[in-house]
């Protein structure tokens, strides 16, 4: 064997060699476990905090020794579904962001910024307004269709012309198309009070008011999207080296792209169908993961999977605290935390490429 021909494993390792804060695999496992413990603590906090604060003992009793007291009903019937939903939605949005960033080599990519969430929302508004759909089982397909069409549309507009699709141009295309779709959605909901009422609490991105059916319908799709993401992590490492090199080590670039787009659609569509359009989670978390763990996609996905739910649940908890006894929708909180990250990224010297 010639020494100049690298195997795909060697190339993947070369791609993974760019270190983050943590340099060896043993330490990466260690910190992953630490962050998982933080996630556990966040979940407990999400069960404890609210307009009526409960102690950790009460929460544990409600989970493991349920009786019909008021506190236990609050925990099991209200806060548990909400927390599980936050867990799944955070996981989906974070992974979708990591996938889009890896595919487009675009540090500014995020399902919210690229208009995918607005597209899913628009399709749901059309489904509810024009076809009278109700219940998540009916309109989740509209959310998927909207997410796919918008993804393709943004990519076509952003990469039109002879110039390559730069990150900035893709982002602007996403913002423009997202603005159009949100505008039309707003128009439809204003014209049709029935639609407005059914989608009201959902429009700002909120984990409140969803029931078990939402979780049962959306989670299989999120699971499928996650599975695809982990399958495609390794080919993505090769794609990061450039299309030609990826081909030369035997990775099918076209198939990888297709799988990534399908996975992103499943994740972003299901998350939007479950909780409304929530932005900026997919922007922030993959950057944090890359900063800690380095550039190997497998580790980025693993860290994103624990960090994103922490962020979403923490934003939800903050939303419960700042307006007591009222609540701030989680989408508003993530926008407020996430926009400074976008500004910091835009200020960096090299906006293009990862």
């Amino acid at each position: 064997m010639s020494a100049t021909i690298a195997t795909s494993q060697q190339l993947a390792r070369a791609a993974a060699r760019q270190p983050g804060l943590v340099e060896t695999n043993a330490r990466r496992w260690f910190w992953l476990a630490v962050i998982a413990l933080v996630l556990l603590a966040t979940i407990l906090a999400s069960l404890m905090v609210g307009s009526r604060d409960l102690g950790i003992g009460t929460v544990l009793e409600a989970l493991f020794a349920y009786d019909d007291s008021d506190e236990h009903v609050i925990v099991v019937a209200l806060r548990l579904p909400r927390t599980i939903l936050g867990l799944g939605v955070g996981l989906a949005l974070g992974t979708a962001g990591a996938l889009i960033q890896a595919l487009t080599r675009n540090p500014l990519a995020d399902p919210g910024l690229l208009g995918v969430n607005a597209g899913a929302y628009f399709a749901v508004v059309v489904g509810v307004g024009a076809f009278g759909l109700s219940g998540i089982g009916g309109y989740i397909w509209f959310a998927f269709a909207g997410a796919v069409v918008t993804t393709v549309l943004v990519y076509v507009v952003g990469s039109a012309g002879r110039a390559a699709a730069t990150p900035v141009r893709l982002t602007l295309a996403g913002v423009a198309i997202g603005a159009v779709l949100s505008g039309i959605s707003a128009g439809i909901t204003l014209l049709d009070p029935g639609t407005f009422d059914r989608l009201r609490h959902w429009a700002a991105g909120s984990l409140v008011g969803q029931n078990h059916e939402t979780i049962l319908v959306t989670f299989p799709f999120i699971a499928a999207g996650l599975l695809l993401a982990f399958v495609v992590a390794r080919p993505l490492n090769a794609v990061a080296l450039g299309d030609d090199l990826a081909r030369s080590v035997g990775v099918s670039v076209a198939r990888t792209r297709l799988v990534v787009i399908v996975a992103t659609t499943l994740l972003a569509g299901a998350a939007t169908a479950a909780a409304g359009p929530i932005g900026f989670v997919g922007l922030m978390v993959p950057h944090l993961a890359r900063w800690i763990a380095g550039t190997d996609q497998r580790w980025i996905f693993a860290y994103t999977a624990v960090l994103a739910p922490i962020l979403l649940l923490a934003a939800d908890i903050v939303g419960r605290l700042v307006l007591r006894p009222g609540e701030l929708q989680v989408g508003i909180v993530t926008a407020f935390i996430g926009a400074p990250v976008l500004i910091a990224l835009a200020r960096r010297r090299r906006v293009s490429g990862l």
């Binding site: 982002t171 508003i332 926009a339 835009a346």
Partner: protein, 354 residues
């Protein structure tokens, strides 16, 4: 003394005007004048159409009779008290939006640098909301709050985008980030506010001319009758500034002072619009660009942009009122939907040219 030759090729047909025995001398582009006049006639035509149509239709002849003061009192009331303020506001605010857009697009030398894209509108809205929620002031105080909010946001966006000079795309991305944060803050304030304040604030959340009466018209008209001529006086220095600071200085323009003056006027214009009708998106972006294409000019020009802005807003308001009658849409929904599509097209066109 050398005389000018009878014909000079300016690249376009022009007519020299020398009233007062040659003490004042102006060169007027023929095409530009024709376009401006045509736009104004169209805008007034749409205005008359809006005056005539509604739940209580008035024949066009009667509308004209009302305007010269010879009609039945009931018709007089419908046209003058109900509809005229709205039409006049649409014309004035549209002109202000077009001017503000032209000023910022000229300063940033980028069509995407208009105040609605880079977040000044969101900032003006934040300022207005703060005044309404914290002090509950009248319209003038709200307008002042909008102005201060807009100015602070302008300074913030420029400061954050500054990195050895302001580069167009960085400015826009920073603007999108700042406006996402401010939008989140605005929603937070709306949720925190007393119900009555929140209701009246939410009325103009989407940018609407619904229910604006004579009192609003008078104050807005007073403000704009100062601001619009003041901006038009700066048309020449602005065009000279586009040649670069050095060339402008050589022609006797103080570059920095002119730029600051232009920016203050531009923010004041957009703040007046926001305080009166709420954030109306995309008119400031689209009007100067359409006007530039119609006049076939090299850069954006103030007067045609103002005429185009007036036409766009009055036409959009007609659509908002009549398209789904009897339901009335906020005009902001119409401008966002149509303007966003133009924005996407602009991105494609820009990419083609490079």
């Amino acid at each position: 003394m050398s005389m000018l030759p009878a014909t000079i090729n300016f690249g376009h047909r022009a007519q020299a005007l020398r009233p007062f025995g040659g003490r004042l001398s102006r060169l007027i582009g023929i095409r530009r004048m024709v376009v401006c006049a045509g736009l104004l006639v169209l805008a007034l035509g749409f205005g008359l159409l809006t005056l005539a149509s509604g739940d209580f239709p008035v024949p066009l002849g009667d509308v004209l009779r009302v305007l010269v003061g010879q009609a039945e009192p009931s018709v007089q009331m419908v046209v003058v008290e109900w509809r005229l303020p709205r039409v006049a506001l649409a014309l004035l605010l549209g002109a202000a939006l077009g001017l503000s857009g032209a000023i910022f697009q000229s300063i940033t030398r980028n069509p995407l640098g208009s105040p609605d894209i880079i977040g000044f509108e969101a900032g003006a809205y934040t300022g207005a909301l703060l005044v309404m929620v914290a002090m509950g002031g009248g319209y003038l105080m709200v307008a002042g709050g909008a102005l201060v909010g807009g100015l602070i946001t302008a300074a913030l966006v420029y400061g954050l985008a500054w990195r050895r000079g302001v580069q167009g795309f960085r400015l826009i991305i920073v603007g999108i980030g700042v406006s996402a944060m401010l939008t989140a803050l605005n929603k937070f304030m709306l949720l925190r506010a007393q119900l009555e304040v929140a209701m009246s604030a939410a009325m103009w959340d989407a940018g609407s001319l619904n229910g604006l009466g004579l009192d609003r018209l008078l104050i807005a008209a007073l403000l704009l009758l100062v601001l619009i001529p003041a901006s038009l006086l700066l048309a020449r220095p602005m065009a000279q500034l586009e040649m670069g600071d050095d060339a402008a200085s050589a022609l006797g323009i103080s570059a920095e002072r002119t730029r600051v003056l232009l920016m203050v006027l531009g923010v004041a214009l957009i703040a007046t619009v926001t305080a009166t009708a709420g954030p109306i998106g995309f008119v400031a972006l689209v009007a100067p660009q359409l006007a530039r294409r119609l006049t076939r000019a090299a850069g954006v020009a103030l007067l045609p942009s103002a005429a185009m802005g007036a036409l766009l807003l009055v036409a959009a308001d007609y659509l908002a009122q009549r398209a789904f009658a009897p339901t009335q849409l906020p005009v902001g929904v119409v401008t966002i939907s149509l303007g966003g599509m133009y924005f996407a097209w602009l991105l494609v066109a820009e990419a083609r040219r490079q």
